[in-house]
Symmetry: C2
Amino acid sequence: MTRKEQKEEKRKAILMTALTLFVERGYHETKITDIAEAVPMSTGLLFHYFESKEELLKELVTMGAQGTGSARPTGDVPPDVHLTGFLGQLFSYAKEQPWVFYMFVLMGQVRRAGMPEEARQIAASIDTFGMTAELIKAGQKKGIFHKGDVLLMSKCFWASVQGIMEEMAMDKDMKAPSPEWIVSMLK
Amino acid sequence: MTRKEQKEEKRKAILMTALTLFVERGYHETKITDIAEAVPMSTGLLFHYFESKEELLKELVTMGAQGTGSARPTGDVPPDVHLTGFLGQLFSYAKEQPWVFYMFVLMGQVRRAGMPEEARQIAASIDTFGMTAELIKAGQKKGIFHKGDVLLMSKCFWASVQGIMEEMAMDKDMKAPSPEWIVSMLK
DNA sequence: GAGTTTATTGAATAAAAATTCAACGAATTT
DNA sequence: AAATTCGTTGAATTTTTATTCAATAAACTC
């Protein structure tokens, strides 16, 4: 047991190190030796834990895909309040639990171009937009949000969030914006 | 003369092809052979026109850095109208003059991590935020924009725009959002 | 504690991609 | 039209980076 736990620990350490480097420097600019050095361990040992660099990325993206769903509306909170609250939590993670924050950033980056195709597909398989689109539709019905194509509004909302989070990931000193600013894009 | 013009034409063709591929697939996922094939020309010839792949990127970024300044306020248009108009134009470029649009996307991407450091520095040297911050400050004075750290607001504004443009670059069928949505982030 | 499995290393190898180059055809000059 | 320069190619080379591997140490099983 201790042996297996040890292994899991180390796997996790590698994953977190890779996540950090992938987000801070980019997947392609992060060399396998950079990850090994940062963990730290020998490069050879890294392949004892993960088949390949791409496999490492795919495992991260799979984790990220599972951890999604927290944006789902709970109960009867008004849509704008729900989104505002969600963003507030997300932004506060940037300081407290960077890996949650980084995972979000990574997922967004992988979903776009510039990464190995297989990883992209995993990230693309989860539907963030649809979920938020529902929420926006509800908000429109209540007269809280302005009119417009809900899917487009959802995409813009998340694209903005992604853009801001990438900026925050790059510049550690940047303060988080007020969630209201972003939500007001929908009002 | 015809000879030199010919050369300039070809250089431009390479630059535009590279710009497209860099934005659509990402710098690192674009192989030098992909560019050559797309132009089309042999891989060897490409090095007759550009020293290296990185040099090619740097030339693009330098071009992009020079073409900046259109966001500068002209005359006495209200800040919100100015920004709305600017975005409207930018988004319409996405269809009409994709390379202008792509250049914007590339500049943003290069400024962030994941690209060769030298290129990053060129992109980082131009100050987009400061210019918009002035505009926002003016808007605040007039009571058009809400209170808040103008630099942060400026960063968030551009981060949102960048995020949305990257989304549009990836998904050609995506409609452009209404510029008002984004500007309302500041109101 | 002998034997087996697992962790670890760093140098050797393989794979992928950028870059060079010798050769040739086309244009330009004289 | 001979000589020279420039454009062009694609295969060979170099460089970079991922991946393997033989050897060793440590942990665990019996």
